[in-house]
Assembly symmetry: C2
């Protein structure tokens, strides 16, 4: 396995390389705008080879969106700090960094999911659920007892985080105008998860 030359990629490696290229291309473009020809040209491979790895343009796009979702889950991995709030806060920092660096790719993932394609919706829902589980395991369940209400609040917080980060990064938004810093966004999200969780504990 390790004696393989760098030029002769295995089919699996070639596929990975094409996906990585797709992700980087669509970090700054909408997934709908990607064409097989452009990707083939950028990768220095033939159209035919691309079709050998992916079942058509839609299949390639789906695989790229899936890859973005995977990278999103990996990027939001947390530290193993002993303090639950510190672990949550690390994940928030990683989340904001990821969306900051991959804004268009992330937006494409969100839009692909919302666009009604059941396959894309599943990719997105799976990524969101993976992050929700991680947030619960990471610290939430060390802070408050598990309940249906807490799980709803974590889902709600994820929607809040997505909305705030995308609105912050939108063209003409607060980031464009230097009106709200990345550190402010991280603080908002970290503070709100803590604040929201407290609302799950009945007052009486």
């Amino acid at each position: 396995m390790t004696s393989r030359s760098r030029v002769r990629l295995s089919p699996q490696e070639r596929r990975e390389q094409l996906l990585d290229l797709g992700v980087s291309m669509f970090a700054h473009r909408n997934v709908e705008e990607l064409s097989i020809d452009e990707v083939a040209e950028a990768a220095g491979v033939s159209r035919g080879l691309l079709y050998h790895y992916f079942p058509g343009l839609q299949g390639f796009r789906d695989a790229v969106v899936r890859r973005v979702a995977e990278e999103f889950v990996v990027a939001t991995a947390a530290s193993d700090a002993p303090d639950p709030m510190e672990r949550l806060s690390t994940t928030v920092v990683n989340y904001v960094d990821f969306v900051d660096a991959n804004h268009d790719a992330y937006l494409s993932l969100v839009r692909a999911a919302a666009g009604g394609d059941p396959g894309m919706k599943k990719v997105y829902d799976d990524a969101r659920s993976a992050l929700a589980e991680r947030i619960l395991d990471l610290g939430v369940l060390d802070l408050v007892p598990d309940s249906e209400a807490v799980r709803l609040l974590v889902r709600g917080w994820q929607a809040l985080a997505e909305e705030i980060v995308l609105a912050w990064k939108a063209p003409g938004g607060p980031d464009d105008r230097n009106a709200v810093s990345k550190a402010d966004v991280v603080a908002m999200l970290t503070d709100s998860i803590a604040a929201i969780l407290l609302t799950a504990t009945p007052a009486e």
Copy 2:
């Protein structure tokens, strides 16, 4: 204007009647499933008359989605209670009641907006912005000073509220299983707006 008989509707009234019918039909069905024939039959009018009022099926659907958005804004009107938190809480109760009673219609509005149709996205964004402005005017700006961060947090809270209410009402969700009551959802949303706003005030 007042001597008009109940049977002979003015063109404006007839149009309103058709829209109301569309809204009630699509309170329990997806907007994509509505057909002009079904609406015409339910209204007891001809297909031709429907086409007289609306430019085709897409035009009718758009008008129905717009109507849902208007009803959403009207339904979330607030009391004029002197306490800002009480005014916010009334709007939250009205919001949850509206989504509870019009779940499918509301979901169709959200989906139509997310589906990439720019016209539908605008209808949805306008309704959301109207509600954001109301939330700000209603109480938020009596509780915390206005800032870009507060406006981002209000947007984020709206996304949280939408996610929580739709997840709560989803088939097989906590409402279906009687796992979380409507009062619990209202309390979660009211408490979280208060909690989130506190995070906008710098700690130092």
